[in-house]
């Protein structure tokens, strides 16, 4: 273990240099994640079958290495749909929902965090009360209840999944903006008469963006898991569309005689979240050496 005394100073001086050396594990995670995203994005082109194409003559075919045919590399499900193709399409849905949800939660949380830190007083109290309430209601529970009673729709699903974590962005943003408000560079902008919007958007936001991006990366695996958990209960993405969680949930009933339906989608979920965790950890350690040592 080498003792890094020079590293933080060096990192301060040159923001690009510290990103240059990437550990092998993180590089592998990036490649893996890139591959999943690429395959998901190209689902229309590379999937051998459509996600809803049924072949009732080829139901519950095992994967090729377990005695199945090369027609269906990862086997087929109860309706004779190709598991491999459905994984491509399912990954696409899951990633899109998770991205949309992250964007929603990120925007909501940072905006409210900014508002709380800017206006203080009762507005801040109100925002922090909402944060407390959100923190007291596990999103999965809330989402289950709402989806069951409101019925499913993709936008609603994205909003609900996005609610998970907005309070963390809000807390983080509020704290960072409060300390940035007292910083010398903000005071310098006040002396020259900079308008508020310029101070907050052009000066404070770029300075806290790093911390927010790290938080978003760290949140992303949880967001994917939440979407897949809801789909697992049949309350997320609805057929004929498919998602990784939905495949896992459907496959659960056929674990004994057709394990491949559930297991392959589970593996893809796991690899995606694992990659995101590795990348997020690394980003946090690199960009924010104060958070962990």
């Amino acid at each position: 273990m080498k003792v890094e005394i020079e590293a933080p100073l060096d990192a301060l001086r040159n923001p690009t240099r510290r990103l240059r050396t990437i550990p092998a594990v993180v590089l592998a995670a990036m490649i893996l994640l890139g591959l999943v995203i690429l395959l998901a994005a190209c689902a229309d082109v590379i999937a051998p079958y459509g996600f809803a194409d049924q072949n009732l003559d080829a139901r519950l075919q095992p994967p090729w290495f377990a005695g199945g045919s090369a027609d269906y590399l990862l086997g087929t499900d109860t309706l004779g749909r190709d598991v491999l193709s459905r994984i491509f399409y399912g990954a696409r849905t899951s990633i899109l929902v998770a991205l949309g949800a992250t964007a929603f939660g990120f925007l909501l949380g940072t905006t409210l965090g900014f508002v709380a830190a800017r206006f203080r007083g009762w507005i801040e109290e109100a925002v922090m009360m909402l944060v407390d309430i959100q923190a007291a209601l596990p999103t999965l529970v809330l989402a289950l209840a709402v989806l069951a009673f409101l019925g499913n729709s993709l936008p609603l699903l994205i909003i609900l999944v996005g609610l998970d974590g907005w309070e963390r962005y809000a807390r983080l943003t509020r704290g960072m903006v409060l300390s940035a408000k007292e910083s010398g560079y903000v005071m310098s902008m006040r002396i020259v008469g900079a308008p508020e919007w310029r101070i907050y958007l052009r000066h404070i936001l770029p300075n806290i963006a790093g911390g927010l991006i790290v938080q978003a990366t760290l949140n992303f695996p949880g967001t994917i898991i939440l979407e897949t958990a809801l789909s697992f209960f049949g309350l997320g993405v609805q057929p004929p569309m498919t998602s990784l969680g939905q495949m896992l949930g459907n496959g659960r009933a056929y674990l004994i005689n057709a394990w491949w339906i559930a297991i392959f989608s589970g593996v893809v979920i796991f690899l995606t979240t694992l990659s995101m965790c590795l990348i997020g950890d690394w980003l946090r350690d690199r960009l924010d050496p104060t958070l962990t040592r």
Binding site: P15, G184, Y185, M187, R190, V192, G193, P195, R198, H203
Partner: protein, 330 residues
């Protein structure tokens, strides 16, 4: 009404006038409603600066120097009292045009620059806010970079990538970009190496005559102030204890605290020694404490009177005033 007409110099109205400035920092909140007592960082400070003049403000840490600097540069509102420029009182918010007339340079040059924005952009930004057109901005930056002695290449760098002395020059350039009349300098050199300090002080002196600046120079270091300022105000516990022309104050200090400050200066000639004239003790930082002279607990010449009543700032000679009961007899 003027508190002390003594520090006024002949020659018409002052450019900058601080009158009875008081700043109380609110206490931390305890519980929902209850609040403790606030801290008086600055209590009833008045002074004037005439156009082209440089006033030094010296005092130890906690004496309220920075608070005064922030009130004069209109980044902090006084709890009571006013700052006025050409007779017009500072308000919040302040009209852009008047805002441009008072600019400031602070000690922490790294903190005063946004770490994620290139230096050139940060020097340019005040002019964008004040509506200068592109050509005017480029011309102004070029001439200022020459004035403060920085190479053009530095404009493309980030604040973390240049030295402390260069950063301080960047801050000076940025403060001058709006063509201010008054420049507030809060400890602009104390974070720098001694050799660099001298360069920056000389630069400020040059710029002062070149740009016809009126300066409020805040420092804990009397030597630096002596080098740059015409007059000096000595601050102790949020109050001015002595004010006057720099030579008069240094040669004939009339407040024990000023004496102590001067005695603490390193001797001009090696081998020369001075007798310490102050007691060491913790300095108070709260100007509101009870009766008596705030300096009494550290004063070597303390008398009974000093513990009973607080001395007011009284004139000794034209332009030189002191807040000591025994100012004339020291």
């Amino acid at each position: 009404m003027l508190q002390s007409p003594l520090n006024r110099r002949p020659g018409g109205l002052p450019l900058l006038h601080a009158e009875n400035l008081t700043r109380i920092y609110p206490p931390p909140r305890r519980g929902l409603l209850r609040r403790g007592v606030g801290v008086h960082a600055v209590a009833g400070v008045s002074f004037e600066i005439h156009a082209g003049e440089a006033l030094g403000l010296v005092g130890e840490s906690g004496s309220g120097k920075t608070t005064i600097g922030r009130m004069v540069s209109a980044t902090l509102l006084p709890t009571s009292g006013t700052v006025s420029l050409d007779g017009a009182t500072f308000t919040n918010p302040m009209p852009l045009r008047r805002r441009a007339r008072v600019q400031a340079v602070f000690q922490d040059s790294l903190g005063a620059l946004n770490p994620r924005i290139r230096i050139g952009r940060q020097i340019e930004e005040p002019m964008i806010i004040h509506g200068f057109d592109r050509d005017a901005r480029a011309g102004r930056i070029a001439s200022l970079m020459a004035d403060v002695g920085l190479p053009h290449s530095i404009l493309a760098r980030f604040p973390g990538e240049v030295s402390g002395g260069q950063r301080q020059r960047v801050l000076i350039a940025r403060a001058l970009v709006l063509k201010p009349e008054v420049l507030v300098c809060d400890e602009p050199v104390s974070a720098l190496d001694v050799s660099v300090q001298a360069q920056v002080i000389n630069l400020l002196a040059e710029l002062r005559s070149q740009h016809r600046l009126t300066i409020l120079f805040i420092s804990h270091d009397l030597r630096v102030v002596r080098h740059l300022c015409d007059r000096v105000a000595v601050l102790y516990c949020g109050r001015i204890v002595e004010i006057g022309p720099i030579a008069s104050v240094i040669d004939t200090p009339s407040h024990p605290y000023t004496r102590a400050l001067i005695d603490a200066l390193p001797p001009d000639q090696p081998g020369q020694r001075r007798v310490p004239s102050g007691r060491s003790s913790d300095a108070g930082t709260d100007a509101s404490t009870g009766a008596g002279c705030a300096f009494a607990s550290r004063c070597l010449q303390v008398e009974k009177l000093c513990l009973e009543s607080a001395p007011a700032l009284r004139p000794l000679r034209p332009g030189h005033a002191s807040a000591c009961h025994f100012a004339g007899t020291l």
